[in-house]
């Protein structure tokens, strides 16, 4: 047994060294600060490998943890993953149940990790759609890690960008309405003209109420399974984001594909940085 595991250990060590060397070369150029990923292809992966559907989602979760590790090694501060869309509630109840139990396990694992590593965990989406247990777990984890800033992991759950925009508009309307009522109730006639400007909703008001307001806009958005759609994910935040479509399923995402995506980003970095400055 010892002689069988030794070559494997050496192989794994060599792989790790090569990866670290490649990452070190990558870091010689401009690096993204925020990577977003659509975790597409878990079910296809399970079907192709003759696994049950739940195993595909397990493999996807494992791939996400590896991705977070690689981003940590590369010094990428923000990672956002599209774990569960509001539309996904239409899937089979067994599959939805499996994803929810996976979310529960992932929260438990993240809770253990964050005890030793300064990882901030943020859940973006309409958390009211989750069960009370998951919602409370998510809120506790967010509160416990709110002060960490070395790496920020955002899990988009019960999320749709159109829902995010609508929610943000609602919050802005309510804020202005109650502000307007307060000023009207305690108003000074001379201040009316000044207050009219403050009662108009601006883009700044909309953006501060977004679920994703804690993170900057992504530099790269990766979608797997060779899809070329955003599927209602971060289309508000990705005006100047490099969109990368990979012809593999998400559980197969590894450090080499990540390297390729970052090299592509570095190729276009001057252009994207110029466009962001021009805004």
């Amino acid at each position: 047994m010892e002689s069988e595991s030794l070559p494997r250990k050496i192989f794994t060590l060599c792989k790790t060294l090569v990866r670290k060397l490649v990452f070190r070369v990558l870091r010689a150029g401009p690096m993204p600060s925020h990577i977003a990923v659509i975790m597409d292809g878990n079910r296809r992966y399970a079907k192709r490998n003759r696994l049950n559907e739940g195993a595909g989602h397990d493999a996807g979760a494992m791939a996400l943890f590896y991705l977070i590790t690689y981003c940590y090694e590369l010094g990428i501060k923000y990672i956002t993953a599209y774990a569960f869309s509001t539309d996904n509630f239409r899937r089979k109840p067994q599959e939805v149940g499996k994803i929810m139990s996976l979310l529960r396990e992932s929260m438990a694992l993240l809770t253990k990790i964050t005890k030793h590593q300064p990882v901030r965990v943020h859940f973006a989406g309409n958390l009211e759609l989750l069960s009370a247990e998951l919602r409370d777990g998510a809120r506790k984890l967010m509160e416990a890690t709110a002060d960490y800033s070395k790496i920020v992991v955002t899990i988009c759950v019960c999320y749709c960008c159109s829902d995010e925009i609508l929610n943000s508009v609602e919050e802005s309307v309510l804020e202005k309405y109650y502000n307007h009522s307060y000023i009207r109730d305690s108003h000074d006639d001379n201040d009316n003209d000044d207050n009219d400007g403050k009662n108009t909703i601006t883009l700044v008001d909309i953006e501060k109420h977004m679920y994703m307001a804690v993170t900057p806009e992504p530099d790269i958005l990766i979608r797997t399974a060779h899809e070329h759609r955003l599927s209602n994910f971060l289309q508000w935040q990705t005006s100047y984001t490099q969109l990368a479509s990979l012809p593999i399923d998400f559980p197969e995402l590894n450090s080499w594909q990540l390297t390729w995506v970052i090299l592509d980003f570095q190729r276009n970095y001057d252009y994207l940085a110029r466009k962001k400055l021009q805004r």
Partner: protein, 285 residues
């Protein structure tokens, strides 16, 4: 003997030389990638030429009817190339796609809209069509010109419309419940402020990088996005390939079941024939 200072100097120089070596390696990797992309561009150019000549059988038939609304995003620095834009629109119109949205971030295309509209007989502005529902029934070409002010800023203007509506409804004493506004109310508010176009089926990006440059977020939820390269490298064959890729990789959702469909359905097809710039259009009889 004190070795601390020489040791520090050694580590300093190792670090410096290491950084230089890594930087050189980075440049070497990017030089190799540049050569790869250059080679791929040559091959794509050749493929586009063959497609234009009708020599690749696969691209001879396009099921254009699946594209009800096409959006084209153009990098603002290239949007002033009006002749290229007109050429692109001519190709798209000849292929049978009549409803097109043109977007550039800074609104350069909006300034050229009169020049562009003049080139297409009977083309009308999208804003002049009365109802979105009637759009598909319009026999003539409709063009929509969109910029950044129709995206995020339009959502802010729509929010103010909804704010007024909310103030009135509260003054009238109605109780909104948990959710104040629905998606349809948001869409209506966007229409009120003049930014209520339909969701495109396909979005083609003409620019150096694959990013949508701020196209209205409310309208690209499930839109297929394809990157075409810079506008100055515009090729008819690349356009055909992009449309072919979209129309043949059709995924029909039946509830939770996803079915990949590449069957030939009785839609309007375009026979590209052998001539390269003037395809003929044949309807199904």
């Amino acid at each position: 003997m004190d070795f601390a200072r020489p040791k520090r100097m050694l580590y300093f120089w190792i670090d410096k030389i290491g950084n230089v070596l890594f930087r050189l390696s980075w440049h070497l990797v990017h030089a190799i990638i540049y050569l790869c992309y250059f080679t791929m561009a040559m091959l794509h150019g050749l493929e586009s030429h063959l497609i234009s000549r009708g020599l690749l059988r696969k691209y001879k038939y396009l099921h254009i009817s699946k594209i009800n609304y096409l959006a084209i995003v153009i990098e603002s620095e290239e949007a002033c190339r009006t002749s290229n834009v007109i050429q692109l629109l001519l190709w798209v119109a000849t292929l049978g796609i009549n409803h097109i949205c043109l977007y550039d971030n800074e609104g350069i295309l909006k300034k050229s809209k009169d020049v562009i509209l003049d080139k297409f007989d009977g083309a009308i502005l999208f804003q002049d069509t009365h109802e979105n529902n009637m759009l598909l029934d319009q026999p003539c070409m409709t063009l929509e010109f969109v910029s950044f002010s129709d995206g995020k800023e339009a959502v802010a203007r729509a929010a103010n419309v909804l704010l007024m509506k909310y103030i009135k409804s509260r003054a009238a004493g109605s109780n909104q419940g948990e959710q104040i506004f629905s998606e349809s109310e948001m869409s209506e508010a966007l229409k009120t402020v003049g930014s209520g176009g339909p969701e495109p089926d396909l979005l083609l990006i003409y620019g150096p990088a694959r990013c949508h440059l701020g196209f209205p977020a409310w309208r690209i939820r499930y839109t297929e996005i394809q990157h075409m390269g810079p506008l100055k490298s515009l090729k008819y064959g690349s356009l055909i390939k992009a449309l072919y890729r979209y129309t043949t990789n059709l995924q029909i959702w039946y509830g939770n079941k996803q079915v990949k469909c590449s069957a030939v359905l009785p839609w309007k097809t375009v026979n590209l024939g052998k001539s390269n710039r003037t395809p003929s259009i044949h309807g199904d009889s």
